[in-house]
């Protein structure tokens, strides 16, 4: 099973990536993740799975906080996700949650629904793309 993951890791990212590859890398930079894990494929896949599991719950919690106009709670959850997505090298998700954290800290709740919508989309893309790196 581990071989399946390993086959996806092709060493450090090449500078000659195509635009499509670049886009996919921004969804999940698996090579960067494995580098950060010092080649520990098992840890890399465990972190991807953990993010896949926790993200829907965290999005739900953010929506609940928004419905209660709780900007501070929104900022806290977004901050947590910012750390998680940065560790996993999910750059696009990371940018969206970082924006939500800033809105939450600033108390500008009106900007958050659009960001949450974007977060749903990015999450879907992450789920599909990251699954290719996980064991079947």
């Amino acid at each position: 099973m581990q071989e399946t993951f390993h086959n996806h890791w092709e060493g450090p990212k090449s500078s000659a990536d195509t635009p499509a590859q670049t886009q996919q890398t921004e969804i999940l930079d698996y090579n960067a993740l494995v580098d950060r894990c010092l080649g520990n494929i098992e840890l890399a896949s465990r972190l991807v799975e953990k993010l896949q599991t926790c993200l829907p719950q965290e999005i739900e919690s953010m929506e609940k906080a928004l419905s209660q106009n709780d900007a501070a709670q929104l900022a806290r959850i977004a901050h947590r996700l910012k750390g998680a997505t940065a560790s996993v090298s999910a750059q696009r998700l990371n940018r969206v949650v970082e924006a939500i954290e800033e809105y939450g800290k600033a108390g500008t709740l009106s900007d958050i629904p659009a960001s949450l919508e974007q977060l749903h989309q990015e999450w879907e893309q992450f789920r599909i793309h990251s699954t290719t790196f996980l064991p079947s």
């Binding site: 950060r36 894990c37 010092l38 520990n40 953990k50 901050h79 750390g83 940065a86 560790s87």
Partner: protein, 370 residues
């Protein structure tokens, strides 16, 4: 080496733990500042990597609390932060952080920063070991008290003053001051080679015994020289070696073992000589009471005037208040035998001061100070 990770983000904690384990560190994880403080209190952790933003106790608060807490040794703290900019760096440094790593971190950068931390901690360990050795060497004499603690402080004060003088500016810099603070306690390490029958003799030395006692300078030199030869880049060994051999030399050539004169005596030894004599004069010995600062000053600038480098005497004059404060800070406890510090000889029946007979002109071969 043990590393304590303080991180409420499971993802970052797992990645850190993996990297540190791969680098050979023994890792413990704390999920918040409270847990971390408990663990640091155990004195088991000298390296701490903490997230900046955590609920309850932030990384910056944790730094402050660790610094306020007196643990077994220095704790090197690296803050993990997504924050950038000088303002945050200053805030972290003010709180007591030693270094920063930006999240998400690169493992190789983490390793380099940890190695830097280990080097800092090793320096502290080196200083403790050197001072422990010096204390061990003094421990055979029950009268030692806080002699070494005061000595190194006096030396630092004198060296700091010299560092501001044009003449010494190129020679005495911050590193020199640190080195003399570190090595001056080793001045009498050669006493480990002096037999108890001489070192601990309660009465006056015979000329033969005094010749044996004088050997401590050479024994100290030889001991440190052996180490310096195998570690020629270790500057502290070179300075310690110079101090050991020539701290009993006197500016007018009346000292021992080589009867060096003036600036032929290494500067570090000229500094130690004054610090050593001042401490001997101002502390109680079995054969004399502790002289006041004023009395000691009168002796130094009276009959001993030619024994010391005038530049160092000037440094002493300019820092007398600091000397008195150091003396007050490191007070000796009375020993059950009545001894406090220094030599264990009885007074010279001829009236010469046995701890410092050099005070009496014409007796250069008698013991000088502790």
């Amino acid at each position: 080496m043990r590393v304590l990770i303080v991180e409420d983000d499971d993802f970052a904690a797992d990645v850190l733990e993996n990297a540190l384990s791969r680098f050979g560190y023994e890792v413990t994880k704390a999920r918040n500042g409270r847990e971390a403080l408990e663990l640091v209190r155990s004195s088991l952790y000298r390296l701490v990597i903490s997230d900046w933003e955590m609920p309850e106790i932030s990384g910056v608060d944790l730094c402050r609390r660790i610094r306020a807490q007196h643990t077994g040794g220095y704790v090197y703290i690296i803050l993990l932060t997504a924050r950038r900019g000088t303002k945050h760096v200053v805030e972290g440094l003010n709180a007591g952080a030693d270094d920063f790593i930006t999240k998400p971190f690169e493992p190789q950068e983490l390793l380099v920063r940890l190695r830097a931390g280990e080097r800092i901690l090793a320096l502290e360990s080196r200083e403790l070991i050197i001072f422990s050795l010096a204390k061990l060497a003094e421990s055979r004499d029950p009268d030692t008290g806080a002699h070494l603690e005061r000595m190194r402080e006096y030396c630092r004060v004198l060296a700091e003053h010299l560092s501001r003088q044009e003449k010494f500016r190129d020679q005495v810099d911050g590193n020199y001051i640190q080195l003399i603070y570190l090595t001056s306690p080793l001045h009498d390490i050669g006493k480990v080679g002096i037999p108890d029958s001489v070192l601990l003799k309660p009465g006056k030395f015979t000329p033969e015994e005094f010749e044996i006692m004088k050997q401590h300078a050479l024994i100290g030199f030889q001991t440190l020289d052996a180490a310096a030869r195998t570690h020629p880049d270790a500057r502290f060994l070179l300075m310690a070696r110079e101090i050991a051999i020539s701290h009993h030399e006197r500016f007018d050539g009346s000292g021992y073992p080589n009867h060096l004169v003036g600036e032929a005596i290494p500067l570090c030894s000229r500094i130690v000589a004054l610090a050593d004599v001042y401490d001997a004069l101002t502390t109680k010995r079995i054969y004399k009471p502790a002289y006041s600062h004023e009395e000691a000053r009168a002796i130094i600038f009276g009959e001993m005037l030619n024994k010391f480098d005038p530049e160092i005497l000037e440094a002493f004059c300019q820092n007398e208040e600091r000397f008195m404060k150091i003396k007050a800070q490191f007070t000796d406890q009375e020993h059950p035998t009545g001894r406090m510090n220094g030599q264990s000889q009885t007074p010279d029946p001829q009236g010469n001061s046995p701890f410092c007979p050099i005070l009496t002109v014409g007796t250069p071969d008698a013991p000088i100070t502790s």
